[in-house]
């Protein structure tokens, strides 16, 4: 009844080509962004910012990057954690080694170096595909884990092997309260979200999708696989690298290579698959699901244990968490292999007709 595009006539190419062609979508997104900037700061408390909102924003950004590579270009990557690490460590090095380096430039520099590394490890994708490629990208993961642990230059020869940054500020604004960190990340996410949304609708996005659907056929109709695949690796690792830099600088503050281990890569891939491959919206859904689920289980299990009169030890809680997490993922893949984004689009489709059956 409310969600219907009847009467919204397109009279120019410009209006036909806008990102959200349906007015209701446009307003909903604008309202959502406005709410995120203005509304959320009033209702969220510090714990909410630290534990849920900031990780959610940063990991959505990373998931967005991974989705471009995995969902849009069809190149499965298990090395995203490594690209995050490259982003974080190179941003750190740029930040401390160059005097007076602005924070935002340092973060983007982290993304730039991640791009280089991503393109380098993307070279095998020209020869191998599918699961072979997935294993090949693990090389990036293990190599980076090792390099950041063993090569002293990256950590500024810090004896403990961990690095830390402090006194962040952008354009003279200090970023130290959770609220400021939240807004800082939100700006990044909105900008990159819009960029990505536009990118996948452009010529290059269509090339990626052609490669994903069938690379041989795409090559036959004149799409250069080398260019398409490497550009997907480049864009994806840039976004993932910036997300990694944010994760290190803004969320963690001080970190070691373990923060970007292979588990992080799996986590990002989970987000993409559960959220929906080849959907920008899906990245946000997936990130929300994966970030909130462990926190929820962590709170819920002891409470449920108390309810039935069993006190569950911390170790048991963490093991049960593992089990439920694993089982839920399997269940989810069985029920909706195309992810939450698919549910979303089905819901929208239904809403268009509602309240009529046809």
């Amino acid at each position: 009844m409310f969600y219907r595009e009847n009467g919204q006539f397109k009279t120019s190419y410009r209006s036909d080509q806008q990102i959200f062609a349906i007015a209701q979508d446009r307003w909903a997104i604008l309202a959502l962004i406005a709410f995120a900037f203005v509304g959320v700061p009033f209702i969220a408390d510090e714990y909410m910012f630290r534990a849920i909102l900031i990780p959610f924003l940063i990991l959505s950004l990373a998931a967005l990057g991974v989705n471009i590579l995995v969902g849009y270009c069809g190149q499965i990557s298990l090395g995203s954690g490594a690209f995050m690490a490259v982003g974080a460590y190179m941003a750190y090095n740029t930040y401390i080694r160059i005097e007076g380096m602005p924070l935002i430039v340092a973060l983007l520099a982290g993304g730039f170096f991640a791009t280089l590394v991503g393109m380098f490890f993307g070279i095998p994708s020209l020869r191998v595909k599918g699961l072979y490629l997935a294993v090949a990208t693990l090389a990036a993961q293990f190599f980076c884990d090792w390099a950041f642990l063993r090569v002293g230059w990256f950590t500024n020869n810090n004896a403990s092997g961990s690095v830390s940054v402090s006194n962040l500020n952008a354009f003279g604004w200090a970023i130290d309260t959770p609220l400021e960190k939240y807004l800082f990340c939100l700006v990044f996410l909105v900008v990159f979200g819009l960029l990505a949304k536009n990118l996948v609708r452009s010529a290059i996005g269509r090339e990626w999708m052609a490669i994903r659907d069938m690379d041989v056929a795409a090559a036959v109709i004149g799409i250069r696989p080398v260019y398409a695949k490497l550009s997907a690796f480049a864009v994806s690792s840039f976004i993932v690298g910036v997300a990694g830099a944010l994760w290190g600088f803004v969320h963690l503050g001080s970190w070691e290579p373990a923060a970007f281990s292979i588990d992080r890569s799996f986590q990002l891939l989970f987000m993409v698959i559960i959220g929906g491959m080849g959907s920008i919206m899906g990245s946000f859904f997936g990130a929300a699901f994966i970030v909130v689920l462990p926190i929820f289980l962590n709170q819920f299990l002891p409470w449920a244990g108390d309810l039935v009169g069993v006190s569950i030890s911390t170790a048991a809680v963490s093991h049960t968490e593992f089990m439920i997490f694993g089982a839920l993922i399997v269940w989810f893949l069985i029920v909706e292999p195309h992810g939450l984004a698919k549910l979303w689009s089905v819901a929208k489709q239904k809403l268009r007709l509602w309240p009529f059956p046809h």
Binding site: I76, P124, R127, L131, V135, I262, I329, I334
Partner: protein
């Protein structure tokens, strides 16, 4: 020279064990097209079961003899692996037929998490040891050829022999029995196999069970070497380069790949490691496999990949 040989032998032994884990991957991939990331979790789960059962059984049954105790523990663990295989087929694979490879991969990652949690909930999360009477003494070989001989760990030799034996048994099973033939048929073409009356579901249970048994054997060997603990799951990650080197669909490839990776890893650690700060074992194998893939995308023995539009 003796030093080189020592490193070489060490590499070969380690390679045999990688091959054992890689075999589990290859079996499942061949028969169901599932890239089974849960193999490492299965190794840990099986090893935990074995360790705990052999600890509990003297108390339960009053059997003091170590050999019988271990035997019963082995049978019980194998039974558990069978139940696991059946459950996985019943609850997961059956519902995911015809899904994309990456979805199945993610499903096995879910299984990994589940098994990690389940194993530690049932069997506990401390470090346990498995004692199946493996000799721990090092021996010197080729005393007469080199001064001082070559130091070899007898345990490694036994482990490599067991692994080799298992490989032989498995190849016989695949080549000579009717079940093995059915397995190969399924691996070749699901639909064709089904149309001549091979029950897919039962084959999958069998394959996962066989993979479970290889996981159990690998778990026992690794477990008696370095104790049963959570880090056993990383063994699977060490075995991944082996399968891309050897080809995802080739049993001999898994073995030869395992040996190459084992030797390459050891030699690189010994000769290259000191220059770059050590600890390069873990990524060297991957880089080796990666470079190899650039020249031969289907692996050593994998079937030639033909693309059709």
């Amino acid at each position: 020279m003796a030093f080189f040989l020592e490193a070489l032998f060490g590499g070969l032994m380690a390679g045999m064990l990688y091959a054992l884990v890689a075999l589990g991957f290859v079996l499942i991939f061949k028969a169901s097209g599932v890239f089974n990331f849960a193999q490492g979790a299965m190794v840990l789960f099986a090893a935990l079961a074995m360790a705990r059962f052999s600890e509990w059984i003297p108390g339960w049954l009053g059997i003091q003899d170590k050999f019988f105790g271990n035997l019963i523990a082995f049978v019980l663990s194998a039974a558990i692996m069978f139940v696991l295989a059946w459950l996985i087929e019943r609850l997961v694979l059956r519902h995911l037929v015809n899904q994309e490879g990456v979805t199945l991969l993610m499903a096995t990652l879910g299984i990994t998490y589940f098994l990690d949690g389940l194993g530690q909930t049932i069997f506990g999360s401390d470090i346990y040891k498995i004692d199946v009477g493996m000799p721990k003494d090092p021996v010197f070989l080729f005393d007469s050829v080199f001064p001082g001989g070559v130091l070899v760990n007898l345990e490694d030799v036994y482990a490599a022999c067991i692994a080799a034996l298992l490989v032989v048994v498995l190849s016989l099973f695949f080549q000579k029995t009717s079940t093995g033939r059915a397995l190969r048929a399924v691996a070749d073409d699901h639909q064709a196999a089904q149309s001549i009356g091979i029950p897919l579901n039962r084959i999958w249970v069998i394959v996962w069970f066989v993979a479970g048994i290889t996981a159990l054997v690998a778990g026992i060997i690794w477990g008696s070497k370095m104790g049963v603990q959570f880090s056993l799951t990383t063994v699977a990650l060490r075995a991944l380069p082996v399968i891309i080197l050897g080809g995802l669909t080739s049993v001999p490839g898994a073995i030869i790949g395992g040996l190459i990776i084992g030797v390459g890893e050891k030699l690189s650690e010994v000769y290259l490691g000191p220059y770059v700060g050590g600890g390069i074992e873990i990524w060297f194998a991957y880089v080796l496999a990666l470079v190899f893939l650039l020249f031969r995308p289907q692996g050593l023995f994998g079937e030639k990949i033909i693309d059709r539009v």
